[in-house]
């Protein structure tokens, strides 16, 4: 039997993670694209760390950082009365860190491609930095932003190691599709595992196809833009 609860939870997690990363990833990407700070490469390395670290390593440190003995864990417990590990919030925080490079890197790539003279022209025409950002830089980087969000969404749908370390396996709270599939395989329920795996694969394929199609159209509107 397909565990819809796990599927809905996974979609909710992916949605929350994408929204949070859109809000905090965009400023990071902008800063990385436009700063002339000489130590910027250190920040780039930190942002890219989740790409190379085993999910268990990342999960382990997030678990320690969020645990009841850490300042963050104590502060959160004082605020809400319960700890972060093995909750949906804790899982979301870990997933945000895990997917950070998947959002930031495509954004940096497209922000950096925006012709500096367009940005200069905007300032010369009297526009504030914020207006230049929303009227020039972001519209011309739509492709990279969409790519980042799609990668983040698909990546979160399929994550396993970090979820297991930080979230555990609590049905309806932290049990995501990939963990449900693992459980079913362990219990030799291959039919159920297969159905859920197929669903995940089909969903990922459709999401990717739709976003890449939109993305292509987004570029087709401005073919003059290099």
């Amino acid at each position: 039997m397909i565990e819809w609860r796990a599927i809905i939870l996974t979609l909710k997690l992916a949605f929350v993670v994408c929204s949070v990363l859109l809000v905090i990833g965009t400023p990071i990407a902008l800063w990385l694209s436009f700063t002339r700070w000489r130590w910027k490469f250190l920040v780039e390395s930190i942002v890219a760390l989740p790409l190379v670290l085993p999910p268990t390593v990342l999960g382990f440190y997030v678990l320690v950082a969020l645990g009841s003995n850490s300042p963050i864990g104590r502060w959160y417990r004082g605020l809400t009365g319960h700890g972060l590990p093995f909750t949906f919030e804790g899982l979301a925080i870990a997933s945000v860190l895990y997917s950070l490079p998947f959002v930031v890197q495509p954004m940096v790539a497209s922000f950096s491609q925006v012709d500096r003279n367009l940005i200069n022209a905007s300032s010369i025409l009297g526009a504030s930095r914020l207006r230049t950002l929303f009227r020039i830089v972001i519209p011309l980087s739509v492709g990279g932003i969409i790519t980042g969000v799609v990668l983040c969404f698909s990546h979160t749908l399929g994550e396993f190691g970090v979820v297991l370390m930080v979230g555990g396996n609590i049905p309806g709270v932290t049990e995501t599709v990939s963990i449900a599939i693992y459980d079913n395989v362990q219990a030799l329920n291959y039919a159920t595992a297969n159905k859920m795996a197929l669903l995940l694969m089909g969903f990922s394929f459709i999401t990717l196809s739709i976003t890449y199609a939109i993305n292509r159209k987004a570029w087709a509107i401005w073919p003059g833009h290099r």
Binding site: L118, N120, A121, L125, P139, P223, G224
Partner: protein, 377 residues
């Protein structure tokens, strides 16, 4: 947005620039000049610091020290720590690549700098400009759908519609054909007849500089080497670098043969052939080495021995090559040394000029410019 307010400027406020900016360890820009209302042509070879200079004036780069002011309004002053942000300098800047926003229509591009104005005033400001720039029919098009000349007009209209206090043009027309270029310049000139703002126009083409400019500033290796009215800069190039930038096709090494103080002239012997030229007197001695620069367009070709002329230099030569570039026929004549002469195609036909033919060259004394030679190192 400061551009939305129409700051009434004093009539003909001049742009005054006195700045130093280090570009690299062995190159620094040290520019000092004034650009009054009207066209000031900034002439220089590539790599002379023209774009750095424009970026400093626009506020995209900060000079290391100095002062930039428009009339009495300082834009940058290292002494009193003034550095007006780009968005508040209220200027127009036409980049070499125009920088039209590719995702916006021409109309959106043109309205970009006047977004804060009420719609009615925006329309009023735009319509007259679009009419005179002949781009009213392109408003709904994206920049990549229109021709190069139309893009130039659109970019120019986008700058002018904000009613800027001064305008910077960075070789904006270099990609255009001569005719399109000329009409755009005429449109800009007509616009500035009523607005009277300083227009700083960067070019590497001496012809363009001297044809368009009311003032010319010659920049070489980051320094202003000459500035003034076009004819003054052109007619009296005192340094060899200026002569090269300014475009003298004929530059000859010569030795002073004799001085005539009473006539205000002197005779100079060119090269080895012994050809002598009468040139204006300068403070020098017989035997001194000088360099003489003559524009190819200042030399006259005659089919027969000329008589009854005021010109003091006339001598025979033999044509070694004739070729046409645009509407200029370039004739090379051998007469002890080689002279390059520019004439019109009609003149070339009328005189039946051909390679090998013997002709006469006529050069006025005052067409011969004495150029100080660089010291041999």
């Amino acid at each position: 947005m400061a551009g939305a307010e129409i700051t009434r400027r004093e009539e003909s406020a001049a742009l005054s620039v006195r700045i130093v900016r280090r570009v690299s360890p062995d190159f620094s820009l040290e520019a000092a000049f004034d650009a009054p209302a009207g066209f000031t042509m900034l002439l220089g070879t590539s790599g002379c610091g023209k774009t750095t200079l424009l970026n400093c004036i626009a506020g995209l780069l900060a000079p290391d020290s100095g002062r930039i002011a428009l009339g009495s309004r300082p834009l940058f002053d290292s002494a009193s720590r003034v550095n007006v942000p780009v968005a508040e300098r209220h200027l127009g800047y036409l980049f070499q690549n125009l920088a039209l926003f590719p995702h916006l229509t021409i109309e959106q591009n043109i309205h970009y700098g006047i977004a804060k104005l009420p719609a009615a005033e925006r329309r009023e400001r735009t319509s007259a400009l679009l009419e005179s720039f002949r781009i009213a029919h392109l408003l709904k098009s994206k920049p990549n759908r229109i021709s190069g000349g139309e893009r130039q007009r659109a970019a120019l209209a986008r700058s002018l519609v904000t009613d800027p206090s001064f305008l910077l043009l960075d070789e904006p027309l270099s990609a255009l054909d001569q005719a399109t270029k000329a009409t755009i310049i005429d449109d800009l000139r007509a616009w500035n007849a009523t607005h009277r703002i300083p227009i700083l126009y960067v070019t590497h083409s001496p012809e363009e500089a001297f044809a368009l400019g009311e003032h010319v500033v010659v920049l070489d290796a980051g320094r202003v080497v000459a500035s003034g009215m076009p004819q003054d800069v052109l007619r009296a190039p005192r340094q060899e670098t200026i002569a090269q930038i300014v475009g003298f096709e004929n530059v000859f090494d010569a030795v002073v043969a004799s001085l005539d103080e009473r006539e205000g002239t002197m005779l100079c012997r060119l090269g080895l052939g012994g050809r002598e030229l009468e040139v204006p007197l300068s403070r020098t001695d017989v035997g001194a080495r000088v360099r003489i620069a003559i524009r190819a367009g200042d030399i006259i070709i005659a089919a027969e021995r000329p008589s009854g002329l005021s010109a003091r230099n006339s001598f025979t030569g033999r044509i070694i090559s004739i070729r046409q570039e645009g509407v200029t026929v370039i004739v090379t004549v051998e007469s002890g040394v080689e002279f390059e002469v520019h004439i019109t195609p009609a003149a070339c036909q009328e005189l039946h000029l051909e390679t090998g033919k013997r002709i006469w060259l006529v050069i006025k004394t005052y067409s011969c410019n004495l150029v100080e030679s660089k010291r041999p190192d």
